[in-house]
Symmetry: C2
Subunit: 137 residues, 2 copies
Amino acid sequence: MQPKDLAKDTAKILQNYLTYQAVMLVIEQLVETNPGEAIWLRQYSSGGKLRNGEAYIEEIMSEPKGKELALRIMTVRDSIAEKTLEFLPEMVSTGIKQANLSHRCHLLERLTQSQTETSSSSIDSSVSELDTEESSD
Amino acid sequence: MQPKDLAKDTAKILQNYLTYQAVMLVIEQLVETNPGEAIWLRQYSSGGKLRNGEAYIEEIMSEPKGKELALRIMTVRDSIAEKTLEFLPEMVSTGIKQANLSHRCHLLERLTQSQTETSSSSIDSSVSELDTEESSD
């Protein structure tokens, strides 16, 4: 896959995730102001509907009480995007570099341990060989 | 949820997705160079293991043939991150704004249509009322 296609796919995943976050935030706000609508929206948004954010918004707009909710979700998602997107490249890049470093350290520790174990077990066997030789003398 | 927590959660989702992309890319490369290993890695990576990228890497490193694959996956993911991350904020922000505009247009179309239908049906009923009045004259 080309870097351009990778970026497109990643952007789509991100857009879907921000839509999911917006819906969760609207539900959270509704719990305070309109509990009945919060329950309705939570039930409506279950069952994997939010995997495709745009189809979800298109669908909820056709519900009698969905128009205002859809407009609100879109506004909230735009606002979340503005507040978070600019920090993501740095955060993810640092996250990946740190995680890679930590995994490499674990791998090195494991390899060193197994080498130490191998060499100590070969020392043990040499010692026991020596013992056998000495006792047979 | 605070914007900082939202950004953290989103960064985690993104890091997992880039790990998934890296694994898919390594499988794609292995199909050409080492089909047996490609099949092994595809089978190993199934069943939702890739939902948590860091746990996946930690786990595959403990497999006999997993060490080199883990190192390769980490290198590929770092490279994908470098190539795509900087473009994401602009892509996602534009994507969301365009999608919001398109949804709002659809909603407006729908509202205008239903208003037109209402007014045309009221004209129809007025006409039929007139007809009735005329015929009763």
